[in-house]
């Protein structure tokens, strides 16, 4: 019925790329209702989001398709983070997926099958690809070196904007992280575009992080399975009997 590695049929929702999603501009009464609701509701889980990271991700079924990602991070414990991911950092940004980040200790305790879905972060941090806009490098260097460089992520993409989808179509896709191997390198144009937008230099970030230690075993267990085995992952959504205790639909 739907697969993360199959392009959707051409319809107004699947073609026409980047004028934003179809639909009418938000009308005033909707905006007023929204503002009214927001004044009455605490929105606490969202208020926990306190970090913005800009980096790059690759599709696990086709790693040469790559996207610049904007992670808005909130912390659950010292070892677990959760991030809605958007395709930009402006107010019209599209929600393209969710990434979870865990410490090495938590990752190593995961079952083998589960580990295959997770990727390491050490390379993209050392390469300067992972960046925190507006944060002075000196401020975050210790945290990156001591904690983030040793973490592992699991990232599901729910909207494949880079192939022109105007609405979120198809099955969710697994994403993976940039790695040193050629098959996992981020296209220079994407990096240049990002650097230009933020007026910073990925090369300079890389130099500044030269002394960030990569763990002795950067790929424990089944981490980065795809790179080591040269195999991607595609997700399928298929019709299936629904266990039910009442009539449906």
């Amino acid at each position: 019925m739907a697969s993360s590695d199959k392009k959707p049929l051409p319809t107004p929702a699947s073609t026409g790329g980047d004028g934003g999603p179809p639909g009418k501009p938000t009308i005033m009464s909707t905006m007023m209702l929204d503002k009214g609701a927001a004044a009455l509701q605490s929105l606490r889980p969202v208020k926990q989001i306190n970090q913005h990271v800009c980096t790059f991700a690759l599709y696990a079924h086709d790693p040469q398709r790559q996207v610049e990602t904007h992670h808005f991070v909130s912390r659950l414990t010292q070892d677990v983070l959760q991030c809605p991911v958007y395709d930009s950092d402006d107010k019209n940004a599209r929600l393209i997926g969710v990434e979870y980040i865990v410490s090495r200790k938590i990752f190593e305790a995961l079952p083998k099958e589960e580990q295959r879905l997770w990727h390491s972060h050490a390379h993209e941090i050392k390469a300067g690809l992972w960046a925190s806009p507006r944060v002075p490098e000196t401020l975050e260097k210790t945290e990156l070196a001591d904690h983030m460089a040793g973490t592992f992520g699991k990232f599901w993409c729910t909207w494949q904007v880079d192939r022109g989808d105007r609405l979120p179509l198809g099955a969710p896709a697994l994403m993976v992280s940039p790695q040193a191997e050629r098959i996992a390198t981020v296209l220079p144009d994407l990096v240049r575009k990002r650097d230009h937008k933020y007026s910073f230099s990925t090369e300079e970030l890389k130099a500044a992080r030269a002394d960030v230690e990569v763990p002795a075993d950067p790929r424990p267990g089944q981490a980065d399975y795809w790179v080591r085995h040269h195999k991607g992952f595609a997700v399928d959504v298929v019709p299936h009997e629904m266990k039910r205790h009442a009539r449906f639909p």
């Binding site: 019925m1 959707p8 049929l9 107004p12 934003g20 999603p21 179809p22 639909g23 009418k24 009308i27 909707t30 929204d34 009214g36 927001a38 009455l40 509701q41 605490s42 929105l43 889980p45 208020k47 989001i49 306190n50 913005h52 040469q64 904007h70 659950l76 414990t77 010292q78 677990v80 809605p84 950092d89 402006d90 107010k91 929600l95 969710v98 979870y100 410490s103 995961l110 806009p133 944060v135 401020l139 880079d162 179509l169 969710p172 697994l174 195999k231 991607g232 992952f233 595609a234 997700v235 399928d236 298929v238 019709p239 299936h240 009997e241 629904m242 039910r244 205790h245 449906f248 639909p249």
Partner: protein
């Protein structure tokens, strides 16, 4: 706030260290958060698994409008600071739903019943105000994907993403879950049902392909061969 209506293991890990906490207080103050600042609305509803109606989840949606016809929502398992981000939902108008390819439509569900049934509500918002937006929501279609199966107690977001469905008729919502939520938020689904009797669903009726085309959906994963990196250098911009 009261505990979760699900029996879920606590999130593993040490309490946040001081250095980490200080850095995050700083980044929280310095950086920009425009996309999440668009989130203006909190809706509570129920989802169940596309292949198992008996597994149901209390779902707290935090939604933003991309435009009048499209919303995008983060789904948490509760309304409090420690809530887990368990999924996402996209909500579109009927007009946009009808433009989706036929093999996409089954992944989307209707909202008519859960709105009119009184089980979808906006915590903290008086009925009179809430109903003005819910009149619109009743006509929309949603696509919900969950990543963290809290109803089976998972301490972490394990496994594959799940396409979720929404309630479409009486008798589907588990009584124990309904009562837990009504009690926690001090609401009465029955009372709201009466207040919302005047609302109408999609103008063209519930599309037969929506709601998993009346059957069910399951996700699976497969390994694929990767293209040789030497053969191309496509750039999608």
């Amino acid at each position: 706030m009261a505990a979760s209506c699900h029996d879920v293991d606590p999130v593993p890990g040490k309490p946040t260290e001081t250095g980490t906490s200080l850095l995050e207080t700083a980044t929280g103050a310095i950086q920009g958060f425009a996309p999440v600042n668009q989130i203006h609305q909190h809706l509570c509803a129920f989802h169940f698994f596309g292949d198992d109606m008996t597994r149901q989840v209390e779902a707290h949606h935090f939604c933003a409008h991309l435009n009048e016809d499209v919303r995008q929502c983060l789904i948490f398992d509760g309304p409090d600071a420690g809530a887990r981000l368990i999924g996402v939902e996209y909500i579109v108008s009927e007009e946009l739903f009808l433009t989706l390819p036929d093999d996409e439509k089954p992944l989307w569900h209707t909202h008519e019943f859960e709105v009119k049934g009184g089980v979808l509500f906006m915590p903290g918002v008086p009925g009179v105000v809430e109903r003005r937006d819910l009149e619109t929501v009743a006509k929309t279609y949603g696509k919900t994907i969950h990543f963290w199966q809290v109803d089976r107690g998972d301490a972490l977001p394990l496994g594959l993403p799940q396409i979720m469905m929404a309630l479409t008729r009486e008798g589907q919502l588990r009584q124990d879950l309904a009562e837990c939520v009504e009690k926690k938020f001090g609401v009465s689904f029955q009372k709201e049902r009466e207040n919302r009797a005047y609302m109408t669903g999609p103008a063209h009726g519930i599309h037969p392909l929506a709601n998993a085309a009346g059957k069910g959906l399951k996700t699976s994963i497969r390994e694929v061969d990767l293209p040789d990196p030497t053969t191309r250098a496509r750039v999608f911009t």
